[in-house]
Each structure stands twice: as C-alpha cells, then as structure tokens.
C-alpha cells in the first residue's frame, strides 16, 4: 500500500552536464501542450524535442537575466527597494490607475496583482483585446455549450474550424486534441473524423481538411444566420442565401446537412471568435445543433494564460475582465470600466503592467495615452536597455524559471515545471512586496 506521490518535476540527469525536464507546459500558443521535454545545458535551454516551431522559438529565446539590473527607474539601474518604494508612491497617488498584461504570467501572479489593484482602486484588464472581451459579452447573453479538449479527442466525429488556421497558429492542436488522436469513441483517429474548414481563402488547415467551404470574412455573420435557419428547418431560397453570404449556391445547405449528420460535432473558433456578433451567432447555432446530437464550441485559445487571468478575476472579483475597483468594490460596465476606455478617454493616470506584454491589444488612442502616464512594468527582462517605464522590475519567466499554474482555454489547470534555476524574483514575490509597501503607506495616511 502507498499514498499518492507528489508530482515533483522529474529532472533527469544526463551525461555531460545536460539535464531535462519532462511533462513541461508550453505557453507559446493556446494549446498549452503539457508533454514537452526541455533540455538544459550550462544553465541554458538547448533543446525542446517534440515542440512545434512556436514552442521551439519560446524555449530557445533568451531567458537569461545576466547583466540586467533587478530594477530600474526611468531606465537607470536602481536598488530594488527604492524602485518598489517609487512604484508604491506612483500607484498610491494616482487617481485612476490601470492594471494591464496578466495573460502571460501565472494565475497566482494574477491574484497577487488583483490584491494590489484593490488597494489602489485600479481598473484591471487582461490583455485579450476588444474583440475577445466582446466575445465574453456574447457568452454572458446566451451561454455556451462546450467541453474539455479530451471530450473532443474521445468523441468528435465532425470537426469544424471556423475562420481559423490552427496548422499555423496552433500547430499541435490537430495532432494532440482535435483531429488525429485516437479516442475511446473514435478508435480510428483521423479516419474517424470529418474535418471542415470555413474560411475566406484556402489555408494550410484547409489543405488537410475533408471539406473546405469558402465564405468571405465579411459574410461570416450572414452565413451563421443562414446555417441556423437551415438547421431549424426553415425553407430558404438558395439563390438568396448565396447572394447574402457571397457563397456558391447550395454550399451552406450542404454544410448544414453535414452538421446534422454528425453524432458529436466540435466547432472551433479563434480567441476573439470573430467579434461580438459572430461570436453570439456561433454560440446559438451550436446550442441548437444539440437537438438530436451533441455539438460543442471551443476556442483554440489565446497564447499563455488568458483563460487563467479571466478565471481568477471572476472568482475573486466576480467578472472576467474590465473590472474597476475604483469604488472599493468590483464594478463591471464594459467600455466604462475597461482599462482601454479609461486610457482612451485620458482618465487613466498610471499603469501597472504585469508579465510579458505588448501594447497591440490596445487601440491607438489608449496606446498614445499609455505612453504619457507613468508605467510600472513587472516582467521578464523588464529592465532591459531601452525601457521607458517609470519603474521596471525584472521578474522570472513563468514556466522557464518561475513556478505556478496556468489554465487552458477549456478550463483545465496545469502546473508549470520551471526548467532553469531562478536568478530573478518572481512577479508574485514582487507584487506582494509592492502590496506590503502600499499597506504601510495606507497605514501612514490613516495615522
């Protein structure tokens, strides 16, 4: 008899100073493959056999903190303590701070950032983009019929890729989850599934599919509406359908037919689901396809830990994104309380950015405002030369030299197995140090 073993990382010592970590989780795309072996030699990652090109690029990038200061103030190396003091002062005196980033770090760090945000009354918004936030609103209106990826692997005999090209953007999705795996009810794997790609042009994924349906991007909403009507058995004029959706006559009718002959269908969309209208139309179509068969809709997933950031926000603050804590309690009025809106309207006057982040998730006016306000950046190599942050704190990289957990887009939480010895503090540690300073400041103000 025994008790369950701890899931300690399996570090295999190999000759010549090489070691490797098995079952590592790769955050390079939304797949969050957790089956990678990462090989380390001389304190550097030298190989990641089995990783896709995105994964190799991630693992073999420069993750070293050598030569970087732990902290910098306006680009000048600084003592960590002084930098934390300055960060606390900036946030405590700001009238309307925003917290950004959060999608490329652990769920534990998101929780640490939220504790800081609450102390300073910030608006918190994971960097998922306007369309992805709108897609969440669609779920809040109509719900979602979905499943974990293992359900797709075990059951799906029809797989639809709607306006997405996983072969390029989610390279191992096809082999691990959606198409090739042999599942309990799909023992023949690829041969047991029909793969349909709907897109504006023939893509790499379309080339490997059983059926390619050409629908211009601008007609996807109309096409979803037509499919929904057809699935409901509404008599539609084929020529009018073709004209309204810019498709060949009969194409959508055949697709609607095919959807209904599935016994278990899986419908994949991108992280932004094509924006709010399209997102809602697809959610409704898939929901209705459940009359008579099973059908689920899943996102291919945003890179990193976007799902984890939204989940932590939801369980701690009640809402998945755009949460304002300015009134001392969580408020969620999309647009009004979004960091994007606060920046674009020039109201935001300081920013805390957590984890690797690029401003591309923001619109142009929000981005312009962000450049004008003091920014505190906590993330891997944040103190690299050229930073324009008011305060930059170098942090360990999640999954590389920082532990914690991340959530896959289907809600499955995975433990990270850091492969390198940490030489920088984690962002969780830095955020907790910042929180402690803010508490001291608040105490001083009270007395």
């Amino acid at each position: 008899m025994s008790t369950p073993e701890e899931n300690a990382p399996e570090v295999v010592k190999e000759p010549a100073g090489r070691s490797s970590v098995a079952d590592a989780v790769c955050p390079a795309c939304g797949c969050l493959c957790d089956d990678l072996t990462v090989v380390v030699e001389g304190g550097r990652i030298v190989d990641a056999p089995g990783a896709c090109p995105l994964g190799r690029q991630w693992y073999l990038a420069d993750h070293s903190h050598a030569g970087l200061p732990a902290a910098s103030l306006a680009g000048q190396p600084a003592e960590l303590g002084a930098a934390l003091d300055r960060a606390a002062e900036v946030l405590a005196t700001a009238r309307s701070p925003v917290v950004l980033g959060l999608t490329r770090t652990t769920s534990e760090s998101v929780a640490a950032a939220l504790a800081v945000a609450e102390l300073v009354g910030a608006a918190v918004e994971p960097a998922t983009g306007e369309d992805a936030r709108s897609a969440l609103l669609a779920v809040q209106r109509v719900g979602r019929v979905s499943a974990t990826l293992g359900e797709v692997k075990n059951r799906a005999d029809l797989v639809v890729f709607w306006g997405v090209d996983p072969i390029v953007a989610h390279p191992r999705h096809w082999e691990r989850y959606s198409v090739e795996p042999r599942g309990r009810f799909v023992p023949r794997g690829r041969a047991g599934r029909t793969v349909v790609v709907v897109d504006a042009e023939r893509t790499a994924t379309a080339d490997r599919a059983d059926l390619f349906v050409k629908v211009p991007a601008s007609s996807r909403l109309e096409a979803l509406a037509a499919l929904r009507a057809l699935v409901r058995g509404t008599a539609l004029d084929a020529d009018r359908v073709a004209r309204a959706t810019s498709t060949e006559p009969g194409t959508l009718e055949a697709l609607a037919q095919r959807l209904q002959t599935a016994s278990y269908g899986a419908w994949f969309v991108g992280p932004a689901a094509g924006g709010p209208g399209e997102a809602e139309a697809a959610l409704c179509l898939v929901r209705e396809l459940n009359a008579g068969r099973r059908f689920v809709i899943l996102s291919l997933g945003a890179p990193g830990n976007a799902a984890g950031a939204e989940a932590v926000l939801t369980w701690q603050a009640g809402y998945p994104t755009s949460v304002s804590l300015a009134h001392g309690f969580p408020r969620y009025l999309p647009g009004e309380t979004s960091a994007e809106g606060l920046l674009a309207r020039g109201e935001a006057d300081a920013a805390l950015i957590v984890g690797e982040w690029s401003p591309e998730s923001l619109g142009p006016s929000a981005r312009a405002r962000l450049e004008q306000v003091p920014r505190i950046v906590i993330g891997p190599r944040a103190t690299a030369p050229g930073t324009s942050a008011a305060v930059a704190l170098d942090a360990a990289t999640y999954g590389i030299d920082a532990a914690g957990t991340v959530m896959r887009c289907d809600g499955v939480v995975l433990p990270l197995r850091p492969v390198l010895k940490a030489t920088a503090a984690t962002d969780s540690e830095l955020l907790r140090a910042l929180e402690a300073r803010l508490n001291v400041l608040a105490e001083a103000r009270r007395s």
Binding site: S146, R293, P415
Partner: protein
Amino acid sequence: MTTLRIAGGRLIDPTHGIDEVRDVWIADGRIAAPPDDPGARADRTIDARGYVVMPGGVDVHCHIAGSKVNAARMLRPEDKRGRETPRRNGLRSGTGGSVPTTFTTGYQYAGLGYTMAVDAAIAPLGARHAHHELRDTPVVDRAMLVLMGNNHAVMDRIRAGERNRLRDHVAWLLGATRGYGVKVVNPGGIETWKQGQGKLSALDDRVPHFEVTPRQILVELARAIDELALPHPIHLHGLNLGLPGNWTTTLELMRALDGHRAHLAHIQFHSYGGSPADTRAFDSQVPALAEYVNTHDGLTVDVGQVLFGDTTSMTADGAVGQYLHQLTGRKWISHDVELETGCGVVPIAYEDTNFVHALQWAIGLEWYLRVDDPWKVALSTDHPNGGSFLAYPQIVALLMDRGLRNDTLKRLPERVRARSGLGEIAREYSLSEIAIITRAAPARMLGLEHKGHLGAGADGDVTIYAPDDDKQRMFSLPRYLIKAGTVVLDDGDLRPSPAGQTRFVTPGFDPEIVPQIETWFARDSSIQFANFPVGEDDL
C-alpha cells in the same frame, strides 16, 4: 497557551445531550475541559449570559468552488449589481448574488455562523482549479467531494468485475485530487447523455458502450467506499432529478443501497409523484420516502430546500442543464469534462405563484418535518440551486414556527395544499433540533470527529446567537463566531481572520494499479498523467 472562555451562555451541544447554561473553554484553538480552579481566568472572556451557544455550522452540500461555479459567476453579471461588498477592515472586496466570489463566500458563511462548507461536485480534472478557489475562500474549513459516478475507469472496472481494482482506483483518485469523499451524480446517465443516447431513467438501464447499469455503479462504489472506511459515505444525486414521478426511482435506489451507508443529496428534487407523461399529477411523495428513511439506518439526506426568488441552477448532470434551458428558454452553459462528467448552468427564478415551484417549496419542508430523527437530515438549499445558503435562517424560522409555514402556504396556489400534506404537520423544531440539522448531524454525516460538537478536543468553532423571537433574524445575525479559537465575528463585526483549512483523505491503495491507470489516462485524457495529481502547493 491562548485561552478563551465563553461564559454563562445557554450551551446547545446535541452530540453530548447538552442544553443548559454552561461555560465553554477554548485553549490553543480547541475546546478544552474547564479548568479545575473555579477562579481560573482566560486570556479573553466573552460574556455570553443570555445568549445561545452552539458549535460552528457545517454545510454538507453546497456549490462554492470550481469550474461550474466560476462559469456561473462569469455568466451572470446581472446577478451581482448592487450586491457588491467593499474592501474594509482588511477584508477583501467581492460580489454577492446567488454565486458570490470566493472571499465573499467565506465571509458570508462566517457571518452566518458556519465554520465548514463542503463543495459537493468536483470533476477530477477540475480538482486543481477548485482547490485554488477554496484556497481563496477565507475563514471556513472546506472540502470537496469528487465526482465518480460516470468515470470511465470506474465503469470499466465494474464491467470487468474487478472489485479490488475499483476500490484501489477510488482510493488513488481521492488522493490524487485531494478529495474528501465520493460524489455520484446520475450514475451512468451523464455518460449516456454525453454520447447523445438520451437518458437513463431506471436503475437497470444499460450505459451504452460501458455495459453497466446505474445500480451496479451505485452499489459497487458504495461497497468500495465502505471497504475503504472513508469518513463520508457515498454521496448521491440519483436519477431523474426534478422529473415528475421520480420518487419511485428514488425509493428503488434507497433499497438498492440496503446494507451500505449512503447520503442522499437534495432529496427534495427526487420526491415527486405524477409522471413525465402527465405532469398535472405532480404531487409530494415525501411520506413514503421519509418512512423508508425512518425505518432504515445508514441512510441520511440533505434537503435542497427551494426558496422563492432568483437564483442560478448548477449541476454536474448536463442533461438537467439542457432540460432547464429548454424549459425556461434562459441562457445555458454546458461544459462536459473528459472521462467523467457534464456541467449545466442555467439561471432560474422560483416563483410563489407557480404551482410547481410552490409545491417544491412545500416538499422540501415536508422532508425536514417527516423524518423523525433529525440526525438523519441536514439543512441545505443545494446552494445555489434551491436558493442561496444565506436563506438558511429563513428555513430555520419556517421549521420552528408552524404559523409562519401556514401563512406562507395560504398565499400559494391552492392546488399545493391538495398535493402536499405540509399544512397538517404540527411539528415545530426546537433549538436543539436546529443545532442538529445545521451542525451536529452534518458533521457526523461527514465523519468529522472534531466538528459539530463542543466536547473537549473538538475544533474551537463556536457560534453565539442573541435569542430572538424572530428566528430568521436570530440565525441571520450571530453576535460572535469563534473559528479555531480566534474570534472572527466580534459583537457582530467581521474581523480579518484565519484562512481555514482544506480537509482531504489519502486512503491507501495497491501501487501496482498505477501503471494500469496511467495507460488508460495517457490514452484517453488530454493532459499528461504526471500533471494530473493536485499538489500541496495547490491547497
């Protein structure tokens, strides 16, 4: 040694048959025998003269953490507006409504005088996420029951007749998920629905592909749990939840479990007469079912009381989610989890003008009143399914006051009085009986030896109420809550407080089964076997 004395209160400790004025001493977080020296002083003394002193409340069945709860939070921003709690006194902010945020959940349970809550339905693959939410649920101790009634490996072992392997699998799975007990929801029925094969409605129907029956799943899991001597018996959500005529299946299921310990959850939802074909015949069948419970030991129930108002239904029984969506037309989240379960979330409003809802309300109350021995009943709303746990004091008031029940009955649709005998029941609960169904009995059902009573060595979890003729007010606003010896609720004021603990079991098993489990897991799961077990860091 830190000591606390609760002096001069009316101590109600049904486990020890106590209802009298008596001091309670707590030393280093645990209940201690009073010192021999009558003049001994404690570090702190709470003057409880005129107050009622009980053990901390224990919730045997609620849904407060994990993917389905968080899906419900995400789905329903409209449920939270105006129900936010601000940051204050070092307590975290949050949102309320039918599905509160984690910090708020912990504070609300503490504010209600509860010190332990058990989430009753966690999918194995969702265990790590659920533990993360429980970690963020302050003050109360907590535990989770792990879903196993539609588990592919469980059904495979049963089909192969491998009882020892089944028992080892259950033990391994509880340890790997850091679970406290085993939950079974619609055994085999969720899997059947997930296959698109409709529903199972009888105990001897067959689960397609797995070729086992709900009866086999129930009985074999109950046997494995008894053999492992787990502290909590099989925790069961049966077949046909919510459907007219389901009481016959419920009775059959009770009989099938003869010889085993079992807990039947939210029994209210399983006690309906009539038939799916003739919903007009819908009536209460509590008398027959309660009679069975009264005459058979080893069976306990929690009620799953329905209260009027808006709430969110959530269940691992994905088919029920779909049914409710079709019935109400409201938004619906369904989320199937590989190798085990489904999950359905639909907003729902129970209306006192609606015959079915009103009858469900009456059926719930009948359960509390028709089971003779209160040790066999736990107070629950199946939070948030029948209503929020914040409604518990309302139920207490209804149980203690026949007049209040009859006043409510009067304004309900007339047919309710013909279809439920609630109006004729004269029984009124005593304070001691309320203490049984809110703390002593649920603790005993859960096998929590240190909860639910105030004998020496018990956890220092004590609730102090100000007596009030308005029992709803009395139980809504305890004056003090002591958790593990720390005064958490101090004269009505919630203080920054200890984190609480997650309770779990790690039963032993034959390590030789692990390779077999790994082979199955590697073939059918979407994650690596090594990444499945929950670790200490997750708690």
